[in-house]
């Protein structure tokens, strides 16, 4: 198949994936809406949690855990919203396979790793976000997050096909390096995980506030807050996501430095893109520190993580489109 028709095929895959993601988005929304607010009760498990405090040596904050009170229903019926959730998950898998096919076809058509310009970078990022979500969903029930993830993926793809679209082309020589491929792959996967973690963190903030308002032993109120897991579980999930992504992000930066050393004769030059990668890194180092600092765990740490995510987004959009560093894909001279 010729490279142009492969590129067209890639576009067909990307557009059909958007269609299926839309279906998934709607079904996730239906599923979330029809989930009965869990009749959860804040239970004080101070006794247990006190000793579970992570290795900080300080007294743990009394933590709230939540146990579901089962609602009576016919033994063979699925819980409300569950069927929609299952359909949405299936659509999500299908859409992601289509998108992966689109990304791969694009790569074959250009004869290189398919992330050489903003369009390709965005489609690959959308793929990474979905893949992280689906990866987690294999081990955990994260259907409650589906509407946010599929929404973010749709937004990214929408921007990609409208604003950022570029024909499949070869790269300027400076961008032709396998270190670049490694660097960008790590950055894209990090981006997917950062996005996942950021949504979990936002939901954590919503839920935590609602739990606090409800008080110990009371059902949690709030449309969204009552449909997501407990604040402790959200916090733990967010932390584990960021703990996974931080070493990967560090690696992405170092691989980028190795590439820069080959391409430009210096491994670090405070180019705007490098500067923001560094800022993002420092903020997430701050996040990890905050979680080990008395008085900073919980909401404050969550806010730091969101600031870190914001700086990642700034780096991705603003720096690529606005400034004129070496990274804005200019040629050598």
């Amino acid at each position: 198949m010729s490279s142009t028709s492969l590129a067209q095929l890639s576009n067909v895959f990307v557009y059909s994936s958007m269609l299926v993601y839309t279906g998934s988005f709607i079904t996730f929304a239906v599923s979330l809406a029809s989930t009965q607010a869990r009749e959860d009760v804040n239970v004080d498990l101070t006794e247990k949690v006190a000793v579970a405090a992570s290795g900080s040596g300080e007294p743990a904050k009394p933590s709230r855990r939540v146990t579901g009170v089962p609602v009576e229903r016919k033994p063979d019926a699925l819980p409300p919203g569950r069927r929609a959730g299952n359909i949405a998950m299936a659509l999500m898998w299908l859409a992601t396979i289509l998108l992966a096919a689109g990304v791969i076809a694009r790569g074959i058509s250009a004869g290189r790793a398919p992330w050489g310009n903003m369009y390709e970078f965005s489609t690959a990022s959308a793929l990474a976000i979905s893949a992280v979500f689906l990866g987690v969903s294999v081990k955990k029930d994260v259907r409650w997050l589906g509407v946010f993830i599929s929404g973010a993926v749709l937004l990214t793809l929408g921007l990609a096909v409208t604003v950022l679209y570029t024909d499949s082309e070869q790269l300027v020589p400076a961008l032709r390096s396998y270190w670049l491929a490694i660097h960008v792959t790590a950055a894209i996967i990090s981006g997917g995980a950062f996005t996942f973690g950021a949504f979990v963190t936002m939901l954590y903030l919503v839920r935590d506030r609602a739990e606090e308002k409800a008080g110990e032993g009371q059902p949690v109120k709030g449309w969204l807050a009552s449909r997501v897991p407990s604040a402790d579980r959200l916090d733990a999930l967010a932390y584990r996501t960021f703990a996974f992504v931080f070493p990967l992000w560090t690696f992405a930066i170092i691989a980028g430095a190795i590439w820069a050393d080959y391409a430009w004769g210096r491994y670090w030059g405070w180019d705007p893109k490098e500067t923001w990668a560094f800022i993002t890194w420092v903020i997430f180092a701050g996040y990890l520190h905050a979680r080990a600092t008395a008085g900073w765990r919980g909401r404050r740490a969550a806010v730091i993580a969101l600031i870190g995510f914001a700086s990642f987004i700034v780096n991705y959009f603003v720096i690529n489109l606005v400034t004129s560093g070496l990274h804005s894909y200019a040629g050598v001279s």
């Binding site: 000793v51 040596g57 070869q170 390096s177 733990a236 703990a243 701050g286 400034t323």
Partner: protein, 547 residues
């Protein structure tokens, strides 16, 4: 809250606390050394480390938003001109050179001191912890986050010490650190197994922070002992690695610029290809510079190529290809037949299609002669913009020139830019465009100018950075340290076998996770199942499980 449990767990944490105590403000009358100690405790606290990290992030922002001297001095000047008040103010506080400014250095140096002051005591504590036994069991294991307890019969467990040893061996085989305390002789005290796993986590954390320090030292070494020069070389010519041959050169404080490694490099040929079709027409596709390099005059020359992502390693330095362009070859002969100028002249590209500007000065001609020229590799005459190049390769090259006669202004001692002709004391004689091979007789002067042909030039950056490899190794170690530090779970587990109570004994198992991971439940559950196999519960209704 179980007071005993809490203190037992605290005890288990002794010497491993990740939390430096919050320093209290010093009492009055503690004197200078007291204040010093207080300041040190502040500086090495997590809170201050956090603050410094934020300052570091915040301080970097202007470095990406405002133009920086190091990368774009011209735009800095423009910025100051356009925003006079703010520009001058920003300049005063170093915002146009953020990453070289004293306040930025102050932030990261404080952070490094804080880091050293924080991590060295931790390292010592960790070394001690590695050599000490796992902490003794808390008094009531059932209060731990994961636990199991049941009663077994003395008939099933006639020798509790054997059970303890078997449990200890089992955990050891799964690479726990284990201490078994047998029943004492009287048989009235309980026997315990204390086990701990995941010391690598703290090892990783310390490794990460130390590697970070090493990384900074590597960067600093590069700054002090490294040097870097840029040089333009025309096809067929070469350069020797001495400071005078560079067009620009910068070196760290501890470099002796008179003593650079004596290699030489010749540019034999240069090749560039460009996209011919589509939207990206004219975009570069490949560059390669064919060179021969000689480490020193005694050595044979090596022929090789330098590409954009493939620098040349020579004698501890690296040679990068960072730019290229055209160097038209012209010969000027005066009316008496004397050659006034002959050779390739470097023209600086002004756009992506290599419209290039250059100047030829002939100070020995009488009167002095100067040529201002524009070289267009693929020339067209645009109705609005005039002569312009539409493609970077030499598909249809042309040289557009104006000739000037008079005083070049070279004698007043002020160094001149070789790419600019000072025409204030000169008179224009005429203009002309030539194709390669064509000749122009300059009107009013009688000299002839021949456009002989076109050569290309390459811009090389030569750099020597002794901190590169150490920084790279340190960088890789930070990742390794992080992976251990963030992913290795840190757990403790205890087994207690109680003294015989009639014909039964109590068995308790408890586990504690010191990190935010799940999976403790499974680990404790599996261990409990194994022990249940060795010491079965007497009956189901008596057994209570908390796991």
């Amino acid at each position: 809250m179980g007071q005993t449990t809490q203190s037992a767990v605290d005890g288990a944490d002794a010497g491993l606390s990740t939390q430096p105590e919050r320093p209290a403000a010093p009492q009055q009358g503690i004197g200078f050394s007291g204040w010093l100690r207080w300041a040190w405790r502040q500086l090495t606290s997590m809170r201050v480390a956090l603050l410094l990290l934020f300052l570091l992030a915040l301080g970097s922002v202007p470095g990406s938003v405002l133009p920086q001297r190091g990368t774009d001095a011209v735009r800095v000047q423009e910025y100051i001109k356009d925003h006079h008040f703010w520009g001058t103010l920003f300049d005063k506080v170093g915002l146009f050179d953020v990453f070289g400014s004293p306040w930025f250095a102050a932030i990261y140096l404080l952070l490094m001191v804080s880091l050293a002051g924080c991590i060295i005591p931790r390292l010592l504590a960790h070394l001690k912890a590695l050599r000490s036994a796992p902490p003794i069991a808390p008094s009531r294991l059932t209060r731990l986050p994961e636990s199991a307890a049941w009663t077994t019969s003395t008939a099933d467990v006639p020798d509790p010490d054997a059970l303890l040893r078997a449990a200890g061996d089992e955990l050891r085989s799964r690479r726990w650190r284990v201490v078994v305390t047998g029943m004492d002789g009287s048989g009235r005290e309980a026997g315990t197994v204390a086990a701990e796993k995941g010391m690598l986590r703290e090892t990783g954390n310390i490794l990460f922070h130390l590697a970070l320090l090493a990384l900074l030292l590597g960067v600093a070494a590069g700054g002090l002992f490294g040097w870097k020069g840029k040089v333009i070389v025309v096809e067929g010519q070469g350069f020797a690695n001495t400071i005078t041959q560079y067009d620009s050169f910068s070196a760290g404080r501890l470099v002796d610029p008179g003593n650079l490694p004596p290699f030489t490099l010749n540019l034999n040929s240069f090749e560039a290809t460009y996209e011919r079709e589509g939207k990206q027409q004219g975009a570069p596709r490949s560059f390669s510079a064919g060179v021969s390099a000689q480490t020193n005059p005694q050595q044979a020359a090596v022929t090789t190529t330098i590409g954009v992502n493939t620098p040349l390693d020579i004698d501890g330095s690296k040679v990068y290809l960072v730019g290229h362009g055209y160097a038209p070859v012209i010969t000027v002969t005066d009316k008496n037949g004397h050659v006034q100028y002959s050779g390739a002249t470097v023209f600086l590209p002004t756009d992506g299609n290599f419209s290039s500007n250059g100047v030829v000065k002939m100070p020995d001609a009488d009167p002095q002669l100067g040529i201002q020229a524009m070289f267009l590799p693929t020339a067209i005459i645009d109705p609005e913009k005039g002569p312009i190049s539409v493609f970077p390769a030499t598909d249809d090259p042309a040289l557009f020139m104006s000739a000037w006669q008079g005083n070049l202004g070279l004698d007043n001692g002020v160094p001149q830019n070789v790419y600019v002709l000072d025409t204030t004391q000169m008179k224009r004689l005429g203009t002309k465009s030539l194709k390669p091979g064509q000749t122009w007789t300059i009107p009013g002067n009688g000299s002839t100018l021949k456009f002989d042909g076109i050569k290309q030039f390459a811009t090389f950056q030569v750099s020597h950075d002794p901190g590169r490899i150490p920084a790279l190794i340190a960088g890789l170690l930070t990742i390794f340290g992080l992976i251990l530090s963030l992913l290795v779970p840190r757990r403790r587990m205890w087994l207690r076998v109680g003294p015989a109570d009639g014909d039964s004994r109590d068995i308790e198992i408890g586990g504690l996770s010191r990190t935010e991971e799940q999976g403790l439940e499974r680990v404790v559950g599996e261990f409990a199942d194994q022990i249940r196999g060795l010491a079965p519960p007497i009956s189901d209704d008596k057994a209570q499980s908390n796991a």
